[in-house]
Amino acid sequence: MGVIEETFAGHEVSRASLDNCVKCTICETVCPVAKANPLFTGPKYNGPQAERYRDGASVDHSLEWCDFCGICTLNCPQGVKIGELNEQAAAKMKAQNGVPLRDRIIPETNLEGMLLSPLAPVANWGLGIRPLRVVIEKVIKIHRDAPMPTAHTETLAKWLKHRTRTDIKPTKGPVVFFQGCAGGYFETETSKKSIEVLEHLGYEVFVPKQSCCGLAKQSNGLFKGATKDILNLCDNLLKFDNEIPVVSSSGSCIGMVKHEAHEIIGVDDPRLANVSVRSRDFCEFLMEEYRAGRLDPSEFRELDLTVPYHQPCQVKSQGMGFPAVQLMELIPGVKVVESNEPCCGMAGTYGLKAERYETAQKIGEKVFEHMQNYNEGVGVCDTETCRWQIAKSSGVKIVHPVWLLHHALGLSDNLLS
């Protein structure tokens, strides 16, 4: 049980909130899992109600269906930490009952990036082979149809070394760009565009040595490893600086830094406190700059485009409204149609798992339809695994909001490349 107890101060905070529950059922009505799968008894039962009876691991395994999207906490008018309670209880259950091999492999995102990138063509080819995917499904239980990232031989670090720098002199302050594992190895294009946009707008962008935030470990119940990862990341970032804003286009990883590591795992460390308060989601950062009068939308060229947009659950839970919608609509001609849906079903890594795949697809059904109904060639979403999920299941090309900005600033001729 040591795994949990060492890092579980956050649990007492969540438990203290459960008496605020008035049983109003609002969490039940917004829960995407309970809607898709009757085997999940819902956030109210599993959260504040079951928590009263838990002492050690839960005996109720219906909790395993929870995808930890946090939509319950987001919508709770009474401030009950429903999602946090459930994620903590699930971690306890795993610590007691054992963690499947698969759930130990998936969260090694940094390692995967480091191993797959040099072998990118082979890795991508391998992950595209159906019989191999069937074998993977049988052996480690990652669903054969689940979306897989595309590895690139040119990692972000390599690109940064070899790129031709623009000659724009920084006119605004410095920022640290936090790439996230996917942004460093798999979706490097989004990271490159983010850096180029920030530089074009006059920021001096630094990409210091960094590492995994531990989010995938956290959502797989591996709290000890996740704690090590997040503090390691903080150490890396603090080696560079302890004041300037940390900006990221990895919408969920930055959420881990901002609040999840503290509120879910209970990491209570001055290093994390320092980094978390200056961490900003990419769109959130630019909207702050806009409100402060430091971003001039007249720099954007017109883009006659309607885009369907889905805000991922882990971005919603950051409680900042819809900065991506606001930012994209600063581009003349852009109209954003928001999905009004809670979750695409991926929820980090949930949708990859063989036994969760069907539920995850059902959860995301309306998001996929939304993208199909409103796209004019492209849809938008803030986080990597959600984009992979939505793109695969809807057949629509899905990009980060920065792709529109990059194009509107004249940094790319084609929006989609």
Binding site: T29, G79, D304, T306, G319, G321, E376
Partner: protein, 450 residues
């Protein structure tokens, strides 16, 4: 790309909001939408989903004053004159009328039907008779009248809906006009999802969104209905596809059908809430869910900014005006501590106790007696809904709407939505009159895109 994009109206994302609205119940949503439609930039902050979806989906204006009210809008003036400390004394009937008509435009006739001049009497989930003013189309056929023949049909797998209780209570009840109805009960059997028992109304409503499922359901009910009967069903007739579900189920049954709302999750309340929240978001109110107001700054008699707790840091939002529409005790906006002290937890505004009552006497021990004075506690407002204390504004730019306003026992009077709508309209209009907003900057409605 194609030319189908609506021309952008990025005015909503201007430098700072003109108005911050705190809360997203019926008062907050109404105020935010009215302000936005008039061209103001609005930021709306809410801790969670507002109270609409915990209600029954109908709109009360005045049900008891204290006797049963027939014409609620006409009754407001007299009721206010007799109760000068009541919010209606400040709001007035005209603002409630304006609020009703604004809501009907925003929600549509299907979710907010009727003209609110005349109260209708609807059966409750325990077979009592409740007066209410605006009624969703799916409840209209439930308006009780003398000689009405009812069959109340329940479903065994649905929790918290008891047709025999409803039918027997209705049968023994004398209607306000002295009339009587006859009602009988039928219990049926229908699984919303395979093997699912003790399901909520929401689970049923979602299953009946599916055309095939609802046809099977309605075909099964048809045989239980006798000639001349009106059919009362639990409020489960579709959620996202409610309009079509209600029409098709009514048509298959071949008799007038109405919904009876029961415990939360209450689907009619959800439908109205979702419609209004979407309207607010589509109009480009900056809608911030899951965030609490944790602080504020003021200067020179004005509120300058509120601070919200965003994940990981705080965001300070400055605005020209602020609307407190966060509700009362039930939402946590008002708090009673163990010393009997009541406070506003959002902006720390002074609260007003009922006339002649001190903190030691806010709760009486007569459970069935007069209304508890505690529930009349709230903030005091002037005729423009500006928050005042001892007759003077607390801040020159802070207004209140809805359940936080002192002086009402809303559930007993059945006045909650009327107070919310009237005060939201009054607050919004007072703010607009003082704002440098011109109608030309108003956003085109986006609703048709979604």
């Amino acid at each position: 790309m194609t030319a189908t994009a609506i021309p952008t109206t990025a005015t909503w994302a201007g430098a700072q909001p003109h108005v911050v609205v705190i809360g997203a119940g019926i008062a907050g949503l109404t105020a935010a939408l009215r302000l936005r439609q008039a061209g103001a930039r609005v930021t709306q902050i809410t801790k969670g989903i507002g109270g609409i979806q915990l209600g029954q989906g109908s709109i009360d204006i005045l049900g008891y004053a204290p006797d049963r009210v027939e014409r609620p809008l006409d009754a407001i003036a007299g009721f206010a004159a007799a109760n000068p400390a009541h919010p209606y004394a400040k709001i007035g009937a005209d603002a409630v009328r304006a609020g009703v008509s604004f809501l009907k435009d925003a929600a549509g006739e299907d979710l907010a039907g009727g003209d609110a001049e005349q109260n209708v009497n609807l059966p409750t989930a325990v077979g009592a008779v409740r007066p209410t003013a605006l009624v969703p189309a799916s409840m209209a056929a439930g308006a009780l009248h003398d000689g009405m023949k009812l069959v109340i049909i329940g479903v065994a797998q649905l929790k918290d809906f008891h047709p025999m209780l409803i039918a027997q209570n209705l049968s023994r009840t004398t209607l306000p006009d002295g009339g009587h109805v006859t009602a009988r009960a039928v219990m049926t059997d229908f699984e919303p999802r395979r093997n699912e028992y003790d399901a909520t109304g929401l689970t049923f409503a979602r299953s009946l969104d599916d055309p095939r499922t609802r046809r099977t359901f309605a075909e099964g009910l048809k045989g239980f209905v006798n000639e001349g009967e009106t059919v009362g069903l639990p409020a489960i007739l579709g959620e996202e596809d409610h309009e079509a579900a209600f029409a098709e189920i009514s048509q298959i049954i071949g008799a007038p059908v109405f919904e009876i709302p029961a415990l939360p999750p209450c689907v009619p309340g959800m439908r109205l809430n979702e419609k209004l929240v979407k309207a607010v978001k589509d109009a480009r109110v900056e809608f911030i869910l899951g965030t609490k107001v944790t602080g504020h700054t003021g200067a020179d008699g004005r509120l300058v900014s509120v601070t919200t707790s965003v994940a990981g840091h705080r965001r300070e939002i400055t605005a020209d005006a602020f609307v407190l529409a966060a509700g009362g005790f039930e939402s946590g906006a008002l708090k009673l501590d163990s010393h009997g002290h009541v406070s506003d937890t959002v902006l720390g505004l002074p609260v007003k106790l009922p006339e002649g009552i001190d903190e030691d006497h806010l709760v009486t021990d007569t459970y069935w007696g007069a209304p508890q004075p505690l529930f009349q506690v709230g903030v005091e407002v002037d005729d423009s809904m500006k928050v005042v204390s001892d007759g003077a504004p607390v801040y020159d730019n802070v207004y209140a709407a809805g359940g936080v306003i002192a002086g009402a026992t809303r559930w007993q009077e059945k006045s909650g939505e009327g107070i919310a709508l009237g005060s939201a309209v009054k607050a919004a209009d007072a703010i607009l009159a003082a704002l440098p907003v011109v109608a030309a900057t108003a956003a085109a409605p986006f609703a048709e895109r979604n």
